[in-house]
Protein backbone atom coordinates (compact mmCIF):
# COMPACT_ATOMS: atom_id res chain seq x y z
CA UNK A 1 0.00 0.00 0.00
CA UNK A 2 1.23 3.47 -0.78
CA UNK A 3 1.15 6.43 1.59
CA UNK A 4 -2.10 7.86 0.26
CA UNK A 5 -3.81 4.53 0.79
CA UNK A 6 -2.38 4.23 4.29
CA UNK A 7 -3.62 7.66 5.26
CA UNK A 8 -7.12 6.96 3.94
CA UNK A 9 -7.10 3.68 5.81
CA UNK A 10 -6.39 5.57 8.99
CA UNK A 11 -9.29 7.93 8.29
CA UNK A 12 -11.91 5.26 7.65
CA UNK A 13 -10.86 2.55 10.05
CA UNK A 14 -8.61 4.27 12.58
CA UNK A 15 -5.88 1.83 11.56
CA UNK A 16 -2.20 2.70 11.66
CA UNK A 17 -1.08 -0.79 10.83
CA UNK A 18 -2.49 -4.25 10.28
CA UNK A 19 -5.44 -4.72 12.64
CA UNK A 20 -5.71 -7.43 15.23
CA UNK A 21 -8.16 -10.21 14.57
CA UNK A 22 -9.80 -10.92 11.25
CA UNK A 23 -9.53 -8.46 8.40
CA UNK A 24 -9.88 -8.06 4.69
CA UNK A 25 -8.32 -5.04 3.12
CA UNK A 26 -9.35 -3.99 -0.36
CA UNK A 27 -7.35 -1.41 -2.26
CA UNK A 28 -8.14 -0.25 -5.80
CA UNK A 29 -10.29 -3.25 -6.60
CA UNK A 30 -7.83 -5.86 -5.30
CA UNK A 31 -7.45 -7.73 -2.05
CA UNK A 32 -4.44 -6.12 -0.34
CA UNK A 33 -4.41 -8.25 2.77
CA UNK A 34 -6.42 -10.79 4.68
CA UNK A 35 -6.33 -12.54 8.00
CA UNK A 36 -8.70 -15.01 9.61
CA UNK A 37 -8.99 -16.38 13.12
CA UNK A 38 -10.04 -19.71 14.61
CA UNK A 39 -13.62 -18.42 14.80
CA UNK A 40 -13.89 -15.99 11.93
CA UNK A 41 -13.35 -17.03 8.33
CA UNK A 42 -13.23 -14.79 5.27
CA UNK A 43 -13.76 -16.44 1.90
CA UNK A 44 -13.71 -14.85 -1.55
CA UNK A 45 -16.84 -15.43 -3.56
CA UNK A 46 -16.25 -17.77 -6.46
CA UNK A 47 -17.39 -15.26 -9.04
CA UNK A 48 -15.03 -12.66 -7.57
CA UNK A 49 -17.79 -10.26 -6.69
CA UNK A 50 -16.87 -9.99 -2.99
CA UNK A 51 -16.39 -11.93 0.20
CA UNK A 52 -18.28 -14.06 2.70
CA UNK A 53 -17.49 -13.53 6.36
CA UNK A 54 -18.44 -16.46 8.58
CA UNK A 55 -18.44 -16.13 12.35
CA UNK A 56 -18.81 -19.36 14.34
CA UNK A 57 -21.53 -19.60 17.00
CA UNK A 58 -20.42 -18.39 20.43
CA UNK A 59 -17.57 -16.19 19.15
CA UNK A 60 -17.11 -13.40 21.67
CA UNK A 61 -15.05 -10.22 21.84
CA UNK A 62 -13.56 -10.52 18.40
CA UNK A 63 -13.48 -8.01 15.59
CA UNK A 64 -13.53 -7.95 11.81
CA UNK A 65 -12.12 -5.06 9.81
CA UNK A 66 -13.07 -4.74 6.15
CA UNK A 67 -11.88 -1.35 4.94
CA UNK A 68 -11.90 -0.32 1.30
CA UNK A 69 -9.57 2.23 -0.23
CA UNK A 70 -9.82 3.76 -3.69
CA UNK A 71 -6.95 5.95 -4.79
CA UNK A 72 -7.14 5.59 -8.57
CA UNK A 73 -9.34 8.06 -10.45
CA UNK A 74 -12.03 6.52 -12.62
CA UNK A 75 -12.33 3.26 -10.72
CA UNK A 76 -15.89 2.01 -10.35
CA UNK A 77 -16.77 -1.13 -8.47
CA UNK A 78 -19.64 -3.00 -6.89
CA UNK A 79 -18.71 -5.35 -4.07
CA UNK A 80 -20.88 -7.86 -2.23
CA UNK A 81 -19.94 -8.71 1.33
CA UNK A 82 -22.07 -11.25 3.16
CA UNK A 83 -21.83 -11.72 6.92
CA UNK A 84 -23.03 -14.91 8.57
CA UNK A 85 -22.97 -14.42 12.32
CA UNK A 86 -23.46 -17.54 14.42
CA UNK A 87 -25.73 -17.97 17.41
CA UNK A 88 -24.79 -16.20 20.67
CA UNK A 89 -21.74 -14.53 19.21
CA UNK A 90 -20.81 -10.97 20.11
CA UNK A 91 -18.48 -9.16 17.72
CA UNK A 92 -17.47 -5.80 16.30
CA UNK A 93 -17.34 -5.15 12.56
CA UNK A 94 -15.52 -2.10 11.25
CA UNK A 95 -16.19 -1.27 7.63
CA UNK A 96 -15.49 1.97 5.87
CA UNK A 97 -14.57 3.35 2.53
CA UNK A 98 -12.18 6.10 1.62
CA UNK A 99 -11.73 7.61 -1.81
CA UNK A 100 -8.80 9.71 -2.91
CA UNK A 101 -9.59 11.17 -6.30
CA UNK A 102 -7.39 13.82 -7.81
CA UNK A 103 -8.20 12.94 -11.39
CA UNK A 104 -11.03 14.11 -13.59
CA UNK A 105 -12.91 10.84 -13.73
CA UNK A 106 -15.50 9.74 -11.23
CA UNK A 107 -14.51 7.17 -8.61
CA UNK A 108 -17.26 5.00 -7.26
CA UNK A 109 -17.58 2.23 -4.71
CA UNK A 110 -20.92 0.56 -4.15
CA UNK A 111 -20.63 -1.82 -1.21
CA UNK A 112 -23.52 -4.18 -0.71
CA UNK A 113 -23.47 -5.65 2.78
CA UNK A 114 -25.80 -8.42 3.87
CA UNK A 115 -25.95 -9.43 7.50
CA UNK A 116 -27.49 -12.68 8.70
CA UNK A 117 -27.51 -12.80 12.49
CA UNK A 118 -28.57 -16.05 14.09
CA UNK A 119 -30.41 -16.27 17.41
CA UNK A 120 -29.11 -13.98 20.16
CA UNK A 121 -26.09 -12.86 18.12
CA UNK A 122 -24.86 -9.34 18.75
CA UNK A 123 -23.01 -7.10 16.34
CA UNK A 124 -21.68 -3.61 16.62
CA UNK A 125 -21.10 -2.28 13.15
CA UNK A 126 -19.13 0.88 12.43
CA UNK A 127 -18.97 2.35 8.94
CA UNK A 128 -17.14 5.49 8.03
CA UNK A 129 -17.01 7.22 4.67
CA UNK A 130 -14.28 9.56 3.68
CA UNK A 131 -13.33 11.36 0.50
CA UNK A 132 -10.46 13.62 -0.50
CA UNK A 133 -8.52 14.82 -3.50
CA UNK A 134 -8.79 18.00 -5.54
CA UNK A 135 -9.61 16.51 -8.94
CA UNK A 136 -12.81 17.35 -10.75
CA UNK A 137 -13.85 13.68 -10.72
CA UNK A 138 -16.69 12.90 -8.35
CA UNK A 139 -16.29 10.70 -5.27
CA UNK A 140 -19.33 8.48 -5.14
CA UNK A 141 -20.36 5.92 -2.53
CA UNK A 142 -23.63 4.02 -2.67
CA UNK A 143 -23.79 1.58 0.22
CA UNK A 144 -26.57 -0.97 0.34
CA UNK A 145 -27.17 -2.77 3.60
CA UNK A 146 -29.50 -5.66 4.32
CA UNK A 147 -29.94 -6.79 7.90
CA UNK A 148 -31.65 -10.02 8.91
CA UNK A 149 -32.02 -10.50 12.65
CA UNK A 150 -33.26 -13.79 14.04
CA UNK A 151 -34.90 -14.10 17.46
CA UNK A 152 -33.16 -12.11 20.16
CA UNK A 153 -30.38 -10.91 17.85
CA UNK A 154 -29.24 -7.33 18.09
CA UNK A 155 -27.30 -5.01 15.86
CA UNK A 156 -26.01 -1.54 16.53
CA UNK A 157 -24.95 0.40 13.45
CA UNK A 158 -22.94 3.57 13.48
CA UNK A 159 -22.68 5.29 10.12
CA UNK A 160 -20.50 8.33 9.69
CA UNK A 161 -19.89 10.48 6.63
CA UNK A 162 -18.30 13.83 7.37
CA UNK A 163 -17.41 15.87 4.26
CA UNK A 164 -15.55 14.70 1.21
CA UNK A 165 -18.06 12.42 -0.51
CA UNK A 166 -19.83 14.05 -3.46
CA UNK A 167 -22.74 11.72 -3.88
CA UNK A 168 -24.21 9.02 -1.68
CA UNK A 169 -27.34 7.01 -1.89
CA UNK A 170 -27.56 4.81 1.17
CA UNK A 171 -30.19 2.10 1.20
CA UNK A 172 -30.70 0.07 4.34
CA UNK A 173 -33.34 -2.56 4.93
CA UNK A 174 -33.83 -4.65 8.04
CA UNK A 175 -36.05 -7.57 9.02
CA UNK A 176 -36.42 -8.29 12.72
CA UNK A 177 -37.77 -11.44 14.33
CA UNK A 178 -39.18 -11.68 17.86
CA UNK A 179 -37.11 -9.92 20.52
CA UNK A 180 -34.56 -8.63 18.01
CA UNK A 181 -33.20 -5.14 18.31
CA UNK A 182 -31.75 -2.67 15.81
CA UNK A 183 -30.11 0.63 16.68
CA UNK A 184 -28.92 2.98 13.93
CA UNK A 185 -26.94 6.16 14.52
CA UNK A 186 -26.20 8.12 11.37
CA UNK A 187 -24.03 11.22 11.36
CA UNK A 188 -23.63 13.22 8.23
CA UNK A 189 -22.11 16.48 7.09
CA UNK A 190 -22.41 17.63 3.49
CA UNK A 191 -20.91 20.75 1.99
CA UNK A 192 -20.28 22.31 -1.43
CA UNK A 193 -22.74 20.82 -3.89
CA UNK A 194 -22.72 17.34 -2.32
CA UNK A 195 -25.76 15.15 -2.26
CA UNK A 196 -26.58 12.51 0.34
CA UNK A 197 -29.68 10.36 0.36
CA UNK A 198 -30.53 7.81 3.03
CA UNK A 199 -33.38 5.34 2.78
CA UNK A 200 -34.20 3.06 5.68
CA UNK A 201 -36.90 0.42 5.77
CA UNK A 202 -37.15 -1.54 9.00
CA UNK A 203 -39.72 -4.29 9.40
CA UNK A 204 -40.52 -5.39 12.92
CA UNK A 205 -41.96 -8.83 12.30
CA UNK A 206 -41.83 -10.55 15.69
CA UNK A 207 -43.25 -9.80 19.11
CA UNK A 208 -40.95 -7.62 21.21
CA UNK A 209 -38.81 -6.50 18.28
CA UNK A 210 -37.55 -2.96 18.55
CA UNK A 211 -35.79 -0.42 16.37
CA UNK A 212 -34.30 3.01 16.96
CA UNK A 213 -33.13 4.84 13.83
CA UNK A 214 -31.62 8.26 14.48
CA UNK A 215 -29.90 10.63 12.09
CA UNK A 216 -28.08 13.80 12.97
CA UNK A 217 -26.87 15.87 10.07
CA UNK A 218 -25.50 19.21 9.00
CA UNK A 219 -26.04 20.52 5.46
CA UNK A 220 -23.81 23.41 4.40
CA UNK A 221 -23.38 25.54 1.27
CA UNK A 222 -25.63 24.29 -1.56
CA UNK A 223 -25.65 20.63 -0.53
CA UNK A 224 -28.74 18.48 -0.51
CA UNK A 225 -29.79 15.79 1.97
CA UNK A 226 -32.69 13.42 2.02
CA UNK A 227 -33.54 11.24 4.99
CA UNK A 228 -36.28 8.74 4.37
CA UNK A 229 -36.91 6.38 7.23
CA UNK A 230 -39.74 3.92 7.33
CA UNK A 231 -40.58 1.65 10.24
CA UNK A 232 -43.15 -1.07 9.74
CA UNK A 233 -44.69 -2.73 12.80
CA UNK A 234 -46.08 -6.14 11.91
CA UNK A 235 -46.27 -7.43 15.50
CA UNK A 236 -46.40 -6.10 19.06
CA UNK A 237 -43.19 -4.09 18.87
CA UNK A 238 -41.68 -0.69 19.43
CA UNK A 239 -40.04 1.58 16.89
CA UNK A 240 -38.60 5.08 16.96
CA UNK A 241 -37.05 7.14 14.20
CA UNK A 242 -35.66 10.61 14.44
CA UNK A 243 -34.02 13.07 12.10
CA UNK A 244 -32.38 16.15 13.52
CA UNK A 245 -30.70 18.47 11.04
CA UNK A 246 -28.89 21.79 11.02
CA UNK A 247 -29.31 23.72 7.80
CA UNK A 248 -26.79 26.35 6.69
CA UNK A 249 -26.15 28.56 3.66
CA UNK A 250 -28.33 27.63 0.70
CA UNK A 251 -28.53 23.95 1.58
CA UNK A 252 -31.73 21.92 1.26
CA UNK A 253 -32.97 19.07 3.42
CA UNK A 254 -35.87 16.72 2.99
CA UNK A 255 -36.86 14.61 6.00
CA UNK A 256 -39.48 11.94 5.52
CA UNK A 257 -40.06 9.77 8.56
CA UNK A 258 -42.74 7.17 7.94
CA UNK A 259 -44.54 4.75 10.20
CA UNK A 260 -46.71 1.83 9.25
CA UNK A 261 -48.55 -0.12 11.94
CA UNK A 262 -50.07 -3.44 10.98
CA UNK A 263 -50.64 -4.59 14.54
CA UNK A 264 -52.71 -3.09 17.34
CA UNK A 265 -49.74 -3.28 19.72
CA UNK A 266 -47.15 -1.75 17.44
CA UNK A 267 -45.90 1.36 19.27
CA UNK A 268 -44.22 3.61 16.73
CA UNK A 269 -42.88 7.14 17.07
CA UNK A 270 -41.22 9.53 14.68
CA UNK A 271 -39.59 12.91 15.14
CA UNK A 272 -38.03 15.28 12.65
CA UNK A 273 -36.52 18.69 13.16
CA UNK A 274 -34.65 20.96 10.75
CA UNK A 275 -33.36 24.34 11.80
CA UNK A 276 -30.47 26.73 11.55
CA UNK A 277 -28.00 27.32 14.39
CA UNK A 278 -29.77 29.46 16.97
CA UNK A 279 -28.39 32.99 17.23
CA UNK A 280 -28.35 32.76 21.01
CA UNK A 281 -26.12 29.67 20.85
CA UNK A 282 -23.57 31.67 18.87
CA UNK A 283 -23.87 34.61 21.27
CA UNK A 284 -23.39 32.39 24.32
CA UNK A 285 -20.16 30.93 22.97
CA UNK A 286 -18.99 34.38 21.87
CA UNK A 287 -19.43 35.62 25.45
CA UNK A 288 -16.94 32.87 26.35
CA UNK A 289 -14.44 34.52 23.99
CA UNK A 290 -14.95 32.48 20.82
CA UNK A 291 -15.26 34.18 17.44
CA UNK A 292 -18.49 33.62 15.53
CA UNK A 293 -16.77 31.10 13.28
CA UNK A 294 -15.24 29.20 16.19
CA UNK A 295 -18.62 29.16 17.89
CA UNK A 296 -20.23 27.70 14.77
CA UNK A 297 -17.58 24.97 14.58
CA UNK A 298 -18.05 24.03 18.22
CA UNK A 299 -21.82 23.80 17.81
CA UNK A 300 -21.50 21.59 14.73
CA UNK A 301 -18.81 19.39 16.28
CA UNK A 302 -20.91 18.89 19.39
CA UNK A 303 -24.02 18.16 17.37
CA UNK A 304 -22.26 15.51 15.28
CA UNK A 305 -20.25 14.01 18.12
Amino acid sequence: MDRIQQRILEEVAGLHSVPEGAYNLRADGQTAGRSTTAHIDIISKEDGSGIDIRVLPGTKNESVHIPVVLSRSGLKEVVYNDFYIGEDSDIVIVAGCGIHNCGDQDSQHDGIHRFYLEKNARVKYVEKHYGEGDGSGQRILNPGTEVHLEEGASMEMEMVQIRGVDSTVRTTTAELAAGARLVVRERLLTHGSQKAVSHYTVRLNGAGASADVVSRSVAQDTSYQEFNSRIVGNAPCSGHTECDAIIMGQARILAVPQLEANDLDAALIHEAAIGKIAGEQLIKLMTLGLTEQEAEEQIINGFLK
Partner: protein, 247 residues
Protein backbone atom coordinates in the same frame (compact mmCIF):
# COMPACT_ATOMS: atom_id res chain seq x y z
CA UNK B 1 -13.19 48.98 36.28
CA UNK B 2 -16.36 49.59 34.21
CA UNK B 3 -17.90 52.95 33.44
CA UNK B 4 -20.99 53.72 31.41
CA UNK B 5 -21.25 57.36 30.37
CA UNK B 6 -24.63 58.74 29.27
CA UNK B 7 -25.56 55.52 27.53
CA UNK B 8 -28.87 55.38 25.65
CA UNK B 9 -30.47 52.57 23.70
CA UNK B 10 -33.44 52.50 21.32
CA UNK B 11 -35.21 49.90 19.21
CA UNK B 12 -37.24 50.47 16.03
CA UNK B 13 -40.95 50.89 16.75
CA UNK B 14 -44.05 51.26 14.58
CA UNK B 15 -43.50 54.98 14.52
CA UNK B 16 -39.90 56.04 14.83
CA UNK B 17 -37.79 54.69 17.68
CA UNK B 18 -38.70 53.38 21.10
CA UNK B 19 -36.42 54.40 23.92
CA UNK B 20 -35.32 51.53 26.18
CA UNK B 21 -32.53 53.18 28.17
CA UNK B 22 -31.77 56.84 28.49
CA UNK B 23 -28.71 58.59 29.74
CA UNK B 24 -27.40 55.83 31.94
CA UNK B 25 -24.21 56.61 33.83
CA UNK B 26 -22.86 53.94 36.17
CA UNK B 27 -19.47 53.00 37.52
CA UNK B 28 -18.57 49.59 38.89
CA UNK B 29 -15.39 49.88 40.92
CA UNK B 30 -12.71 47.23 41.45
CA UNK B 31 -13.83 44.32 43.66
CA UNK B 32 -17.33 45.79 43.97
CA UNK B 33 -20.56 43.84 44.17
CA UNK B 34 -23.27 45.88 42.47
CA UNK B 35 -26.92 44.87 42.30
CA UNK B 36 -29.20 46.39 39.68
CA UNK B 37 -32.88 46.24 40.52
CA UNK B 38 -36.14 47.88 39.49
CA UNK B 39 -39.49 46.95 37.95
CA UNK B 40 -39.74 44.42 35.13
CA UNK B 41 -39.49 45.98 31.69
CA UNK B 42 -37.40 48.85 33.05
CA UNK B 43 -34.35 48.09 30.89
CA UNK B 44 -32.14 46.13 33.29
CA UNK B 45 -31.43 43.20 30.97
CA UNK B 46 -30.71 45.59 28.13
CA UNK B 47 -28.11 47.27 30.31
CA UNK B 48 -26.41 43.90 30.88
CA UNK B 49 -26.46 43.19 27.13
CA UNK B 50 -24.92 46.58 26.39
CA UNK B 51 -22.07 45.74 28.76
CA UNK B 52 -21.50 42.33 27.16
CA UNK B 53 -21.62 43.84 23.65
CA UNK B 54 -24.72 41.91 22.59
CA UNK B 55 -26.44 45.26 21.95
CA UNK B 56 -24.82 48.51 20.85
CA UNK B 57 -25.84 51.85 22.39
CA UNK B 58 -27.19 54.62 20.16
CA UNK B 59 -25.22 57.16 22.17
CA UNK B 60 -22.86 57.34 25.13
CA UNK B 61 -19.60 55.54 25.84
CA UNK B 62 -18.57 52.42 27.72
CA UNK B 63 -15.11 52.12 29.29
CA UNK B 64 -13.56 48.96 30.71
CA UNK B 65 -10.32 49.41 32.61
CA UNK B 66 -9.86 52.81 31.05
CA UNK B 67 -10.27 51.42 27.52
CA UNK B 68 -13.16 52.64 25.37
CA UNK B 69 -15.00 49.42 24.43
CA UNK B 70 -18.14 51.06 23.01
CA UNK B 71 -17.51 49.76 19.49
CA UNK B 72 -16.06 46.38 20.43
CA UNK B 73 -17.95 43.16 19.70
CA UNK B 74 -18.96 40.36 22.08
CA UNK B 75 -15.84 38.23 21.52
CA UNK B 76 -13.42 41.11 22.03
CA UNK B 77 -15.10 42.20 25.24
CA UNK B 78 -15.16 38.61 26.50
CA UNK B 79 -11.44 38.32 25.86
CA UNK B 80 -10.77 41.61 27.66
CA UNK B 81 -12.34 40.10 30.78
CA UNK B 82 -16.12 40.52 30.76
CA UNK B 83 -18.34 37.52 31.49
CA UNK B 84 -22.07 37.34 31.07
CA UNK B 85 -24.52 34.82 32.52
CA UNK B 86 -27.75 34.63 30.55
CA UNK B 87 -31.15 35.01 32.16
CA UNK B 88 -32.28 32.06 30.06
CA UNK B 89 -29.28 29.80 29.58
CA UNK B 90 -28.87 28.37 26.11
CA UNK B 91 -29.13 24.66 25.38
CA UNK B 92 -26.78 22.83 23.03
CA UNK B 93 -27.47 19.40 21.59
CA UNK B 94 -24.35 17.27 21.81
CA UNK B 95 -22.16 19.67 23.79
CA UNK B 96 -21.41 18.24 27.21
CA UNK B 97 -21.05 20.19 30.43
CA UNK B 98 -17.30 19.56 30.42
CA UNK B 99 -17.03 20.87 26.83
CA UNK B 100 -18.72 24.09 27.85
CA UNK B 101 -16.51 24.48 30.92
CA UNK B 102 -13.40 23.86 28.81
CA UNK B 103 -14.47 26.46 26.27
CA UNK B 104 -15.12 28.87 29.13
CA UNK B 105 -11.76 28.22 30.80
CA UNK B 106 -10.01 28.39 27.40
CA UNK B 107 -7.86 25.44 28.32
CA UNK B 108 -7.97 21.68 28.45
CA UNK B 109 -9.44 21.71 31.94
CA UNK B 110 -8.95 18.42 33.80
CA UNK B 111 -12.07 16.61 34.91
CA UNK B 112 -11.08 17.30 38.52
CA UNK B 113 -10.84 21.05 37.88
CA UNK B 114 -14.13 21.07 35.99
CA UNK B 115 -15.76 19.20 38.85
CA UNK B 116 -14.53 21.87 41.22
CA UNK B 117 -16.56 24.53 39.39
CA UNK B 118 -19.66 22.35 39.45
CA UNK B 119 -19.30 21.69 43.15
CA UNK B 120 -19.08 25.45 43.70
CA UNK B 121 -22.54 25.87 42.25
CA UNK B 122 -23.92 22.94 44.20
CA UNK B 123 -24.03 20.28 41.51
CA UNK B 124 -22.74 16.78 42.19
CA UNK B 125 -19.98 16.89 39.63
CA UNK B 126 -19.78 13.26 38.63
CA UNK B 127 -23.48 13.22 37.76
CA UNK B 128 -23.20 16.22 35.50
CA UNK B 129 -19.79 16.44 33.92
CA UNK B 130 -20.72 14.22 30.96
CA UNK B 131 -24.32 15.35 30.64
CA UNK B 132 -25.33 17.07 27.45
CA UNK B 133 -26.36 20.70 27.87
CA UNK B 134 -29.72 19.92 26.30
CA UNK B 135 -33.40 19.85 27.16
CA UNK B 136 -32.88 17.00 29.63
CA UNK B 137 -31.54 19.51 32.16
CA UNK B 138 -33.97 21.45 34.35
CA UNK B 139 -34.03 25.24 34.51
CA UNK B 140 -32.26 25.20 37.88
CA UNK B 141 -29.54 22.85 36.65
CA UNK B 142 -28.94 24.98 33.57
CA UNK B 143 -28.70 28.12 35.70
CA UNK B 144 -26.04 26.50 37.86
CA UNK B 145 -24.07 25.32 34.84
CA UNK B 146 -24.33 28.82 33.38
CA UNK B 147 -22.90 30.25 36.60
CA UNK B 148 -20.18 27.58 36.60
CA UNK B 149 -19.07 28.69 33.11
CA UNK B 150 -18.67 32.23 34.43
CA UNK B 151 -16.67 30.94 37.42
CA UNK B 152 -14.48 28.89 35.08
CA UNK B 153 -13.64 32.04 33.11
CA UNK B 154 -12.50 33.83 36.27
CA UNK B 155 -12.66 37.24 34.59
CA UNK B 156 -12.36 40.71 36.07
CA UNK B 157 -16.03 41.50 35.62
CA UNK B 158 -18.96 39.07 35.81
CA UNK B 159 -22.48 40.15 34.90
CA UNK B 160 -25.44 37.97 35.93
CA UNK B 161 -28.85 38.64 34.44
CA UNK B 162 -31.58 37.66 36.93
CA UNK B 163 -30.14 34.40 38.19
CA UNK B 164 -33.38 33.79 40.08
CA UNK B 165 -35.63 33.94 37.01
CA UNK B 166 -37.43 30.77 36.01
CA UNK B 167 -36.25 28.45 38.76
CA UNK B 168 -38.02 26.77 41.64
CA UNK B 169 -37.89 27.91 45.27
CA UNK B 170 -35.63 25.08 46.43
CA UNK B 171 -33.05 25.68 43.71
CA UNK B 172 -33.25 29.40 44.32
CA UNK B 173 -32.52 29.23 48.05
CA UNK B 174 -29.39 27.24 47.29
CA UNK B 175 -28.40 29.53 44.48
CA UNK B 176 -28.34 32.55 46.78
CA UNK B 177 -25.69 30.80 48.84
CA UNK B 178 -23.59 30.47 45.69
CA UNK B 179 -23.61 34.25 45.30
CA UNK B 180 -22.94 34.78 48.98
CA UNK B 181 -19.85 32.58 48.66
CA UNK B 182 -18.84 34.33 45.47
CA UNK B 183 -19.17 37.65 47.29
CA UNK B 184 -16.77 36.44 49.96
CA UNK B 185 -14.17 34.88 47.72
CA UNK B 186 -14.10 36.54 44.38
CA UNK B 187 -11.38 38.81 43.26
CA UNK B 188 -13.12 40.59 40.40
CA UNK B 189 -16.19 42.80 40.26
CA UNK B 190 -19.70 41.43 40.09
CA UNK B 191 -22.87 42.95 38.73
CA UNK B 192 -26.12 41.11 39.35
CA UNK B 193 -29.53 42.01 38.11
CA UNK B 194 -31.90 40.83 40.81
CA UNK B 195 -34.99 41.67 42.82
CA UNK B 196 -34.02 39.44 45.67
CA UNK B 197 -33.68 40.96 49.11
CA UNK B 198 -30.98 38.45 50.08
CA UNK B 199 -28.92 39.42 47.05
CA UNK B 200 -29.48 43.12 47.72
CA UNK B 201 -28.36 42.49 51.30
CA UNK B 202 -24.85 41.56 50.18
CA UNK B 203 -24.46 44.42 47.69
CA UNK B 204 -21.86 47.14 48.05
CA UNK B 205 -23.92 49.36 45.82
CA UNK B 206 -27.44 49.31 44.44
CA UNK B 207 -28.68 50.81 41.18
CA UNK B 208 -32.43 51.15 40.60
CA UNK B 209 -33.60 51.37 36.99
CA UNK B 210 -37.21 52.20 36.09
CA UNK B 211 -38.63 53.27 32.74
CA UNK B 212 -35.19 53.24 31.19
CA UNK B 213 -33.61 55.63 33.66
CA UNK B 214 -31.63 55.38 36.83
CA UNK B 215 -33.92 56.48 39.65
CA UNK B 216 -31.62 55.68 42.57
CA UNK B 217 -27.98 54.80 42.89
CA UNK B 218 -25.66 54.56 45.88
CA UNK B 219 -24.30 52.44 48.73
CA UNK B 220 -26.57 49.66 50.00
CA UNK B 221 -27.12 51.28 53.39
CA UNK B 222 -28.52 54.34 51.66
CA UNK B 223 -30.69 52.72 49.01
CA UNK B 224 -31.95 49.43 50.46
CA UNK B 225 -34.24 50.82 53.22
CA UNK B 226 -36.31 52.69 50.63
CA UNK B 227 -36.69 49.54 48.52
CA UNK B 228 -37.86 47.12 51.21
CA UNK B 229 -41.49 46.22 50.74
CA UNK B 230 -41.47 47.16 47.04
CA UNK B 231 -41.15 44.82 44.05
CA UNK B 232 -37.52 45.89 43.71
CA UNK B 233 -36.60 43.99 46.88
CA UNK B 234 -38.76 40.95 47.41
CA UNK B 235 -38.10 38.07 49.74
CA UNK B 236 -38.07 34.54 48.47
CA UNK B 237 -41.68 33.76 49.43
CA UNK B 238 -43.12 36.85 47.87
CA UNK B 239 -41.43 35.91 44.67
CA UNK B 240 -43.79 32.95 44.53
CA UNK B 241 -46.96 34.71 45.61
CA UNK B 242 -46.71 37.44 43.05
CA UNK B 243 -46.45 41.18 43.37
CA UNK B 244 -47.43 42.69 46.69
CA UNK B 245 -47.14 39.25 48.17
CA UNK B 246 -48.65 37.61 51.21
CA UNK B 247 -46.95 35.74 53.95
Amino acid sequence: MLTLENVSFEVPAEQGQKEILRDISVTIGDHKFVVVTGPNGGGKSTLAKLIAGIEQPVSGRIYFQEQDITKLGITERANLGISFAFQQPVRFKGLEVIDLLRLAAKKQLSVADACQYLSEVGLCAKDYIRREVNASLSGGELKRIEIATVLARGTKLSVFDEPEAGIDLWSFQNLIQVFERMRERTDGSIMIISHQERILNIADEIVVIADGRITKQGPREEILPSLLGTTSAIDACNKFYGEGGRR
